[in-house]
Amino acid sequence: MSTSIIGAPVTRVDGRAKVTGAAQYAVDHSPSNVAFGYPVWSTIGNGRIANIDTSAAERMPGVLAVLHHGNADPLFRPAERFEPYSRAGEVRPPFEDDQVYYYGQYVALVVANTFEQAQAAASAVRVEYQPRPSVVTLAAAPAPQQPPLLHYLRGNAVQAFDRAPVRIDQTYEIPTETHNPMELHATTAVWDGDRLTLYESSQGVVNHQHVMSEMMGIPVDRVTVLSPYIGSGFGGKLFPWPHSMLAAMAARRVQRPVKVQVPRDLMFTTVGHRPLTHQHVRIGATQDGKLLSIEHDVQQPTSLVDTFVENCIGVTSMLYSCPNVGTQQQLIPMNIGTPTPMRGPGIVSGLFPLESALDELAVQLKMDPLDLRLKNYAEQDESYDPPRPFSSKRLRECYQAGAEKWGWSRRTPQVGSMRRGNEIVGWGMATATWHAGRGSATVRVRLNADGTARASCATQDIGTGTYTVFAQVVAEKTGIPIDKIEVVLGDSSLPDGPTSGGSTATATVLPAVDQATQGAIGRVIAVAQQTPGSPFYPGDHAQTAGDPPKLAMTAGRIHLADRPPESGVPFGEIIAGARLAALDAEARTAPDPRDEHRYSSHSFGAQFIEVTWDPGIARLRVSRGLTVIDAGRIINQKTGRNQILGAVVMGIGMGIFEETLYDPRNAKPLNNNYSDYLVATNADVPDLDCIFVEYPDLHLNEYGARGIGEIGLAGVAPALTAAVYHATGVRVRRLPVRVENLMAGSQQKIA
C-alpha cells in the first residue's frame, strides 16, 4: 500500500459506534448495584457554612448517605507543584472545610438508590450560611498586586509609543465563557477491595489516574481510569474536578459503585471556564504602517482556591516584527470557580485585542488590513534574544491563498460600502496562530495471526479523530485495511500516552505509533526468516549462504523486498505458521530536546469573516467564513477540516453570543443552561470553508504534522468584529457583539 492513507479523508473509525449509540460514555456504565450521587451546592459566593441539616434528607426514601465537610473522609491535595502528570482542575479538595469561595461549590453529596431519590433528597438538605460580600467583577475587585505575574520587554515600548506618529490606545474585554460540551462531566466510581476504577469523561486518563491516586491517598497502581469515549471537552476535561473525588469517596462510604453526573447548572461553576480578561493595548506605528511598539496589559481573574494563568501576552511578542514590545499580566482572585484551559487558552484571548488593535490601526492609516500584516511579517521569532528561526512558517502563503479564494481585492474599505440586496456586507480578517508542541508517548502495536492488528495507548480521543490517526499510521506501515485494525485508547492501564490538550496529541503519538508498528513488523519478519516451514526460511530455499534476503511488509503481506507484495504471504500466515497468536512491539518516543531550543514552532493561519447587517431591524448574521491554515502536514483531511470548521463555529459563538453572566449579588452564573447561554446553532453557521497549505514541519516529527485542534478559533472573533466595523461603523471592543451596541453606535437608520 502506498503512503496515501496519510492525509486521506479517512472516516472516523469510532463514528459508527457513536452515531448508533453503541459508544458507552462515562455515565452509561451501570455496574450492578450502582448508587447515584447528587450534589448540593453553595448558593452564596463567599462565606462559611454555619450549619448543615441533613436530617430530613436522610429520612427520605432510598437515601444511603449524605456527605459533607463535617463527615467526609479526608481527601488530599495533589502534588502538582512537585510532579509531572499531577494537575487537578482545582487543588482544593471538595469538603476540605466549611469555607465557601464561589457560588456552585460542592457543600454536600446525597447518595441514594436512584438518581431521582438523590436529587429529591438533595433539595431537602438545609444549609445555613454566614455570607460575606462576593466579588465577581474586576471593578469590584481590589487592585492587582505588583509586580505582575507575567511580563516581557524588548526595546523600550513606552518611549517608542510616546514618539510614534500614529497611535492606537484601546481597552478590550472578553467575558467569561463556559465550555459547555454536550456530554456532562461524569464519574462512575467502582471499588474492588482497595482498587478503584473510574469511568470518566477525561481528556487525560494518565493524569487523572495520578491525581486521583494523590487526592484519594492510594497508590497509583490501584487506580484505573477509563475514558473510551468523550462527548467533547474543549479543555474543560483536561484535569480532574471535584465530582470525581466525590464519586470515589461516596462509593467507598456506601460500599457500592456510585455515579455522579455534574448537573448542567454546575457545568458553569465547578468544571472551569475561560476567564474574563480586561486587556489594554497600545500600538505605535509609522505613517506607512511599520510597527514601532506594542504594549499589552492584561488583567485576569482566578479563583480563591487555585491559581490559573491564562497567558494572553505570549503571542504578542512573537506574532509580528516589532522592535519594542512590553507586556504584562496580572491575576486577580475573585469569587468564581477555578478557570481552566478552554480551546486556544491564552492565544484566543490575547489575539482578540491584538488583532483588533491592528485593524483599528489599518483604519486609521487607511491601509488594507492584510497589507498591514504583510508589512510587519515576522521572518523570525523575535521574542527570543537572539531571534530564533521558525521550524516552518508559511503564513504568507496563507494570506495569499486566503485573499485569492475570498476575493479580498474586491473589498471596498469605506464603512457600509458593500451591499447585497438591501443588506450591508462587512468583511474582516485576522491572523491566527498556535504554538506547536510535542510530548512523549508509548504505544503498543500487535499483529495478530488472524490478519488483524491492534494499537493501544493510554491517550484518548475527545472527538478529534485520534482513534482514526492511530489506525491510519498502522495501515500505512503494514497495508492492513483500516477495518481490520483495532485501536484501544482511554484506559490508564495501557502504555503511557499524552493528555489531549494544547493541540499536541497527534504530533506526539505519530512517531510512537510509527515506531511500534515498525517494531512489530520487524518481529514478524524475523519469525518469517527463522521458522522452519516459512517460505522465507533459508533451509527451504537452499539459497546461497550470507545474509538472509531482505523482507518487507506491504499490503498486509511479507515479501522479498525486491519482489512485488503479491509474491509474498499474508503476515497472519507467518505468525500462525510459527504457532504464535500474535507478535507485538512497544515504542516510546519523545521530542529531540535540541530542536526545542533551536527552533520556534508555531502553526499559522489567516481567517476571513463576512457579516451581513440589516440596519432596518438591527439584525447581524455571519454569512461567510474562510480559514487558511499552515499546520504542517495534515494527517486526515476529513477530521482535520472538521477541527477547523468546528472551531470557527465556536468563534462565531465567541464573537456574537457567548457570555457567562454572573449576578454580582450572589455570584451565580445566571444563564447556566443551554437555553440561556447562547452558542451558535446550525442556523447561525453559514457557508464555511477551510484550506490547508501543506508544508511538512519535519523538525517537529517525521510526519511533519503540527496540531490543529485550537488554531481555528484563534482569529475568528477579531476578524468578526473587524467585519462588524466594516459593515456598521461600530467598533466592538467588548465581546460579544450585541444588537444594543450596534443600534446605539450605528449611523445607518431604518433602511
Binding site: 429529591a120 449579588r665 451558535a680
Partner: protein, 323 residues
C-alpha cells in the same frame, strides 16, 4: 423534583374534577418541576383527551384543539395558507423537538423565562407573592418594557400567543362552573400587584380549544421575531401583523408584540395609527411610536423599545409591499 401524584384523565369532565395541575407536552411544567419552581401535589396527564384536532368551522374560522402539537399546527395546510402569521410564529419558537411535544394549551400557559423566577433562591413575587422582585435591579436585558409593575417585569415569552392575539383568537375552557369562551385579549392579566395571577383561569379549569375567526379575503399577515441568534431563542422583540389594504389605504390592522411585554401585547395604539391611513413609511413610524409610547425601560433593556419599533415598521413594509 418533589414527589407528586400522577393520574391520567379519560374525559374532560374527569380532568376538571381531578382538580390538579394539567400535564400536556410537559416542556414547561416538567422543566419547572425539576427546578422545584412548580411543586404540584397532583399532576393530571391530559394527553389522552380527544382535543388534538384542527377543524374548519362553518363560519370559515378555525377550531384548534388544546392538545394539537405546535409542529402539527404550524404545518397545517389551512394555517400555512390563511393564518400565515400563526404558522410563522410557531416555527420561530423553541426547537423542532420542543415543538413536537408542545401543545396549543400549554403554549398559551407557558411560564416566563425570567432568571429569577426560575431559581428558588431568588426573591420573586410571581413565585412567592410579597417576596420582592430580583429582576428590577438585576440583569434585566430580557425583561419587559411594557405592562410591568414595581412587582414584576417578567415577559410572557410565547410566540404563538402573539400571533393569536393579532388574529383575535378566543380561548374555550371548561371549568367547575361549566364552559366559557374568553377572548384572548381578555385572557391574560398584567402583573400589577398580583404577578402570580397570569390569566383569568380558575383552579381546575381546562382549555379545551382555541378558535380563530375567519379572515376577509386579501388579508395579509406576518410574524417577525428578532433575537440574538437565528434559532432556538426567545424573542428580544417580535411582532405579529394582520392587515387589510384597499387602494393604498389600511382598512384594518391588528398588531401584537412579543418579547417586550408582561403578556402577549396587543397594541390598539398602533392599530389606531394605521387604520384609515395610507400605507406609507410615515404612517408605519407613527404607529410604532404610538405602540411604544408607554414603554418603560429598565437598566439593560432600553434597546428593546427601538427594536420593537423597527420590527413593526419592517413587518408593515413586508405585509403591504405587494398588496
Amino acid at each position: 423534583m418533589q414527589v407528586f401524584r400522577y393520574s391520567q384523565a379519560r374525559t374532560v369532565e374527569g380532568a376538571v374534577r381531578a382538580n390538579g395541575t394539567f400535564l400536556a407536552g410537559g416542556t414547561t411544567l416538567v422543566d419547572l418541576m425539576k427546578l422545584n419552581v412548580l411543586q404540584p401535589p397532583a399532576v393530571i396527564d391530559i394527553n389522552g383527551l380527544p382535543l388534538d384536532r384542527v377543524e374548519s368551522l362553518p363560519n370559515g374560522g378555525l377550531r384548534i384543539g388544546a392538545l394539537v402539537r405546535n409542529s402539527d399546527l404550524a404545518w397545517n395546510e389551512t394555517v400555512k395558507e390563511k393564518y400565515t402569521v400563526l404558522s410563522e410564529a410557531l416555527l420561530s419558537g423553541a426547537s423542532p423537538q420542543l415543538r413536537n411535544m408542545a401543545t396549543t394549551g400549554g403554549n398559551l400557559l407557558q411560564k416566563t423565562r425570567c432568571y429569577y423566577y426560575r431559581d428558588t433562591n431568588y426573591a420573586c413575587n410571581k413565585r412567592q407573592p410579597g417576596a420582592g422582585c430580583s429582576a428590577l435591579d438585576g440583569f434585566n436585558r430580557i425583561h419587559a418594557v411594557l405592562g410591568g409593575s414595581d412587582h414584576c417585569v417578567a415577559t410572557h415569552p410565547s410566540d404563538m400567543a402573539v400571533a393569536m392575539m393579532a388574529l383575535e383568537a378566543t380561548v374555550h375552557t371548561q371549568g367547575p362552573k361549566g364552559e366559557r369562551s374568553i377572548p384572548l385579549d381578555e385572557f391574560y392579566l398584567v402583573p400589577g400587584d398580583t404577578p402570580e395571577k397570569e390569566n383569568v383561569l380558575v383552579p381546575g379549569e381546562i382549555i379545551t380549544h382555541v378558535t380563530l375567526p375567519p379572515l376577509a379575503a386579501g388579508t395579509r399577515s406576518h410574524y417577525l421575531k428578532l433575537r440574538d441568534r437565528a434559532q432556538y431563542e426567545f424573542a428580544l422583540a417580535s411582532v405579529a401583523v394582520v392587515i387589510q389594504i384597499s387602494g393604498g389605504n389600511i382598512t384594518r390592522a391588528r398588531v401584537a408584540f412579543g418579547g417586550v411585554a408582561t403578556k402577549p401585547w396587543r397594541s390598539r395604539e398602533a392599530e389606531r395609527a394605521l387604520e384609515g391611513h395610507a400605507a406609507t413609511t410615515e404612517t408605519f413610524s407613527r404607529a410604532s411610536d404610538a405602540a411604544m409610547a408607554g414603554a418603560k425601560p429598565l437598566q439593560y433593556n432600553g434597546f428593546k423599545i427601538e427594536l420593537a419599533k423597527r420590527a413593526l415598521v419592517r413587518t408593515l413594509e413586508t405585509t403591504t409591499q405587494t398588496a
